[in-house]
Symmetry: C2
Subunit: 223 residues, 2 copies
């Protein structure tokens, strides 16, 4: 093929392939759809965790940790043999709101099939622990997970079903951060629940746990 | 400055600066020394998590999760007002051995200053939960943290101080994975502890928790 014709053929080929290549590239870089993903609060996927609030503002740190974590460990008193009466630690997903709009209330999406739900039905008192070790914060800063600088919070209270008025907020908070929940099987009788917080401890610096009251916690506003 | 002289001056400058630049570059790329780091089992740092064992081999999956996690959430019965008697969830570092050489025994490095230690002193029964949500496994595969495919394990038992014969193993297991522990202040009266496992549950697939016996768990061998 002669010079100018070959140039045009190449240009045409590029014009045809470029959108396909762009689409392929977009697919490769898009975070997995099942969890978080762009705009869904999965900050680790993009390494875009917001900065930690000043450590002396323990209430704000508690709200921060609760907001950036999308799962945690819940301790319930076991109703299940052979460990009846023991403290039982289990993992559950949570959300206190869409990214950038956290309310501080941890919402859950639970099924009676879960061991922790069986426990809660007998004893609704529970504590939830959330740690920045769950994000890339501690690794990036070289903080061991048990180092208080790798901040974590412990929220104690009762876990109850969400009532009618709060249903939409719970649903929106959870489904934005956990899109696959929409497809979880109806046979599992999923229901929305929340932790009614009565006690809060924050470990974010040396010197021991800081006590934060629910009032202080909920009074925090983020711009 | 004349041509060749300027060239020599540049070469000399480069020869002087290059080692400094190389050292600076090495510092920038070296993982944070405080946690894991190259060869210390911080797999996420290099994205080199070993493959998950076959899900039907629940004992092996339990050993896998216990080995790749270097922290977890421990539930203890609280001895602390105002939540005495409640199940208390807290975060702690752990290690079951150096990378690639896990024994399955979770070792801890604890201080009486920790709330969970105060609890254990009154009631040594506890459960530890460890989840692949703590690694990049679930995110990479698009598994929500509460999806059983994002495997997690619950280990129940008693937490006790490590005795003389096991001290060296505990120390080696922990300090290789958690190098900053070596520098933790002596004033905190750190001691080595372990979970004596009596019950194990594995959630790695649909269909509910799988029970694994301690015998099955400890019989797993990794090549």
């Amino acid at each position: 093929m002669a010079g100018p014709a070959r140039g045009s053929a190449r240009a045409l080929l590029f014009a045809l392939l470029a959108p396909a290549l762009a689409a392929l590239l977009a697919l490769l870089v898009a975070p997995a759809r099942g969890r978080g993903g762009r705009g869904h609060g999965d900050w680790d996927a993009a390494g875009r965790l917001p900065p930690l609030p000043p450590r002396e503002d323990a209430a704000r740190v508690a709200r921060f940790v609760t907001h950036v974590c999308d799962w945690g460990a819940l301790a319930t008193v076991s109703a299940q043999e052979p460990v009846r009466g023991w403290a039982f630690a289990d993992v559950l997903s949570l959300s206190d709101g869409p990214p950038g709009a956290g309310s501080g209330v941890p919402y859950f999406y639970l099924s009676p099939m879960q061991q922790l739900v069986g426990n809660l039905q007998e004893n609704p008192y529970a504590t939830l622990t959330l740690s920045l070790a769950q994000t890339n914060f501690c690794r990036k800063n070289g903080f061991d997970p048990q180092n208080p600088l790798c901040a974590h919070t412990i929220l104690a209270g009762t876990v109850t079903k969400v009532n009618e008025t709060e249903m939409d907020i719970a649903k929106q908070s959870l489904f934005v951060r956990h899109p696959e929940m929409k497809d979880w099987p109806a046979s599992h009788d999923w229901f929305f629940a929340k932790l009614n917080i009565t006690n809060i401890w924050v470990l974010d610096y040396f010197g021991g746990p800081k006590v934060v009251t629910p009032e202080q916690y909920y009074n925090v506003t983020f711009q």
